[in-house]
Symmetry: C2
Subunit: 245 residues, 2 copies
């Protein structure tokens, strides 16, 4: 019986650029970074089988370091390792996505709370800057610009929490849902978009007042609403966002 799950094409990884060589002293370390990026960026279709042999040829290495990297990616939840049957890109069920969104919401909520304890006026000013930039994109119905500014605001809050452990976890979970995250934002209906802007006003306000507990609540609810939009988007066909106001 032929599996309906597609296999990947031939060259999956960029040659050997090693973009900004981050922390790759060892071979398995570099492979880990490259393979993780490639998977997170969604270059391999969901559920696709990723045979060791093929990957080895792609990266030009032997199976040992590759297998080590695969084990780590599996532990991170990006791929699945079926006994004696190789690696597959992990396919997230709707429930998985709901859970991931909620955990992300919890982490950002925590980040907001912690940020209020440590954030500087300068950092708040920078976030205000991003906020108004984002508002501009909103007015111009520039989804891409809006999305990027939005992303940077949330990252700034996480950074202001001054907690590397939190940041690492946040990044890891974000990687898992990265594919849908983008489309989730695009899926926003105008109504929801306006709502999101209002929520961001409240976020900024609470942050200015360093109201940790309040900000925590607002952020959770904000992410919760995002989750709802994303799930709806994946379930039913969504209304297209207009290209211009």
């Amino acid at each position: 019986m032929k599996s309906t799950i597609p296999d990947i094409g031939v060259p999956i990884a960029p040659p050997a650029t090693n973009g900004g060589d981050r922390e790759a002293a060892s071979l398995h370390g570099e492979i880990l970074l490259r393979l993780r990026d490639y998977v997170v960026e969604g270059n391999i279709p969901d559920g696709a089988r990723v045979p060791e042999r093929q990957l080895c040829e792609m990266f030009g290495i032997s199976r040992t370091p590759l297998r080590e990297a695969l084990k780590v990616l599996a532990a991170e939840g990006l791929i699945e390792l079926l006994p004696n049957r190789g690696a597959r890109i992990r396919q997230l069920s709707q429930r998985d996505l709901e859970e991931l969104f909620d955990v992300m919401a919890g982490l950002e909520s925590l980040a907001g709370r912690l940020a209020c304890e440590a954030i500087t006026d300068e950092e708040i000013a920078a976030i205000e800057q991003l906020h108004y930039e984002m508002y501009g994109h909103y007015l111009h119905r520039d989804m891409h610009g809006y999305f990027q500014a939005n992303q940077r605001i949330h990252e700034s809050i996480v950074a202001a929490a001054r907690n590397e452990t939190l940041k690492t976890a946040y990044t890891s979970f974000a990687g898992r849902i990265r594919r849908v995250r983008y489309s989730a934002n695009f899926a926003r209906k105008r109504q929801r978009w306006a709502e999101a802007m209002r929520e961001h006003e409240a976020i900024l306000d609470a942050l200015r007042r360093r109201a940790g507990s309040e900000l925590s609540d607002i952020l959770f609810q904000h992410l919760r609403n995002k989750r709802t939009a994303a799930i709806e988007h994946l379930t039913e066909p969504q209304e297209d966002a207009p290209a211009s106001p």
Copy 2:
């Protein structure tokens, strides 16, 4: 130059009991489970070097599956892999601990919020049961019993959140601080102990009312206070808890 960091003794892992054989189809999988447990349980001193050769002999396997397990444990933050210099039990700085406690606080805070959405009356009743049990241990100054009941209450809340992703993350982070967690509880001064009991009253109350946002706040603050106690314990010598009332 001889390192001051101690090496581990000889036999580190239980023969091959495979307690309740959880998910070990493959050899590296079983090694991963056994080694993780052993490390989490604190059987190897902090910062101790864990040479591959020795571990291989202990488990009676070759280096390949062991190295795969080590990579995963390193990704989980339990050990460190120094390039060309082997594996060590990761030594947590005070800052690391603070960060970990805060992340745990965030996760439990999230768990409380989610639990309020889904928890059944029966589950609440079970937690009440544990609560009174814990109160009994408190009255009898039974630290060990108190600690266990306390642990189970927090686990019950996480379970009631109905989020496997959250639960997995929670368990993983809990593993990292497990050594200190125990002594942190023992380190409680009587004043703090009474305070913790009052906080637990509030937790139960909010849970009964399904007041998610409120419970989220209380849980965060509760864990924050725990963190303070734990850090103090590690910094300065602590007052001993009396053995009997």
